[in-house]
Point group: C2
Chain length 360, copies 2
């Protein structure tokens, strides 16, 4: 990485961030606290992150010249989402180091590669099968059983790119709806609770995890995270240990989000996200150093900060029209409001979140 940034937290260094959504915005805010400037790369004008950053480039991810100029102008590059085209990364890395590494990113970009990686570490996931055609799908349904979930291997998020299969009718049609892209079939997991854990690893190899949070979704989108999760100490420690194993194995630098199912037979990994994570937003008001600053510390070569939880928090996403009912949130002095500066309200769109302290 750039020596200038590695020596110490030198101001005037610039952190490049791919993606200008709310995660980029909160990364940029955290970077500014540490004295860094941010440069946002995003295809959209007036992105949430560009509003709070010193520099921004509005260009698409296939704009070779814009990507090169962006990479040359910054001291280091990170990203807020995992679906970055490989070609874009190849252009950027000619001029600036990328953290977390491309390898870590590739592992999580493809559900098959991700699950193969996790099982190779001896970690448990839902049963899965690779699906490239209708024969694969029929065979996989025989092995995994019904119901099962068909997911595209790439580009899924917030419940998009997946469908539950309850019977063997119309399987052809389903694959056609998915444009016959590579998929995996996953078994349905009977879980007691969904939790997630946010981990971080710095350039000295130190690993730190925040307390696991308990997640609740609405229509496939995260709605609420509660910390502490109502799990026993053994489960909590298991979550920390498996996250540490993943981070270490990937020689990972930065923050990772690991989604887990709590089952009668222990923890299953649902998926990993090589970035700051919605279910870690509670850390902004629950810890001295939040997930965004922890990520910046890790990638610029600082030591990780203290992630100990000082308060109990309920994080609630403000989705779509919730945004029109903000009054009920801000009338409550126990709630810290975090809005993203998005202009248009859409159904299910993440407009902001609140962190409610519900007990000291």
């Amino acid at each position: 990485m750039n020596q200038k940034i590695k020596d110490s937290p030198i101001q005037n260094s610039i952190i490049g961030i791919l993606g200008g959504g709310q995660l980029g915005r909160m990364l940029a805010i955290a970077a500014s606290r540490l004295g860094y400037k941010s440069h946002i790369f995003d295809p959209n004008i007036n992105s949430p992150a560009s509003q709070v950053s010193t520099f921004s480039t509005q260009a698409s991810y296939d704009n070779v010249q814009a990507l090169a100029s962006f990479a040359k102008s910054v001291d280091i590059v990170t990203y807020e989402f995992e679906n970055i085209p490989t070609d874009a990364l190849n252009i950027i890395e000619k001029h600036a180091s990328i953290f977390p590494s491309k390898e870590a990113l590739f592992t999580s970009q493809d559900r098959l590669v991700e699950k193969q990686f996790l099982t190779s570490l001896g970690l448990k996931t839902a049963p899965f099968q690779n699906i490239e055609n209708i024969n694969d799908l029929n065979n996989a349904l025989d092995k995994i059983g019904i119901p099962a979930i068909l997911k595209t291997r790439r580009l899924g998020y917030d419940g998009k790119g997946q469908v539950k299969i309850n019977d063997t009718n119309n399987l052809d049609k389903i694959l056609t709806q998915f444009h016959n892209v590579p998929c995996i079939l996953e078994g349905v997991v009977n879980f007691n609770m969904e939790i997630s854990i946010i981990g971080a690893r710095d350039q000295f190899g130190a690993v730190s995890c925040y307390d696991p949070g308990e997640n609740y979704h609405e229509n496939g989108i995260l709605k609420t995270t509660l910390v502490p999760a109502k799990i026993n100490q053994k489960t909590s420690t298991d979550a920390v240990l498996l996250t540490g194993k993943i981070l270490n194995e990937l020689d990972y630098i930065g923050v990772i989000g690991v989604e887990l199912f709590v089952t009668d037979n222990g923890l299953l990994i649902n998926e990993i996200a090589p970035r700051v994570h919605n279910s870690g937003h509670w850390t902004q008001n629950g810890c001295l150093i939040d997930q965004f600053e922890q990520h910046i510390r890790a990638i610029v070569g600082l030591k990780l900060g203290d992630g100990k939880r000082h308060s109990n928090i309920e994080m609630i996403n403000i989705l779509g029209d919730d945004f029109k009912k903000l009054d009920k949130f801000v009338k409550d002095g126990k709630s810290a409001l975090h809005l993203y500066g998005k202009e248009d309200i859409k159904v299910g769109r993440k407009m902001g979140h609140i962190n409610k302290i519900y007990e000291f």
Copy 2:
């Protein structure tokens, strides 16, 4: 005030901030958390606040056209420092409401007016006398005694514009050094401790105060604030009550900083600052809602947030060359680092601060 902003925390509303230093920067960051955009007005290019704000105007405070354009472009105006020229405020208020009010600002811009206001409320200050010439000074020294402190009535900060008088020699020369501007002479207070308290009042008339902090200075510049201050409950309550009285009397909207001396005879008020205050930076990591967000909430018409302290904090200013020794701060995971993006290091210049959690 602008109805658009008063109705609810509507995004796309713009908060104008006079002054682009570190206080403006941290106000802008807090505003962005609440979904607002900021527009910074500052005479300097690349000011700390402009780096994290959507809009900025670089112009001097006597640039009538720039002030008018700025005021027209925003929904509300606030400020990070009290020494704003009256003419500038007069131009701005034609187009946008200013919070805290001009009246509150004027009270604190002049040490004589400020002390007269405080004593009119029955609150205690150091003994003081108005000084307009050498005769006033001689008479005042007779009344107040030696040593005493001569301060310019206006434009003093961080120990600037004041001199301690230890004898009656060269009094003429001292007044000349102060360019014969209006001054006050203050008695020297024998205090046991200097504390400060950050208060806030919203547009519904509600008042909230943070816990008092214990302050230590170096060369007239704040170096450290400790919370909780080592004072008894009675003193703490006194501090809250007098702050509430000041806020109420001024019909104040926003955050105020009140510097106090703890003496054997109770609390004396040193000075009030109609803005967020260096000695309140600890709230960023000690409370759910920090002083910056509290200020923004108050001025836009939201209710105040919870200012309860959840942790013990030591705030340490990073002054001048301290900035070259940042390693010792960031190696300590218990310290949250806040840097201001200033390019040049100068002796005594506030480059950043850390908030160290020293006990849970």
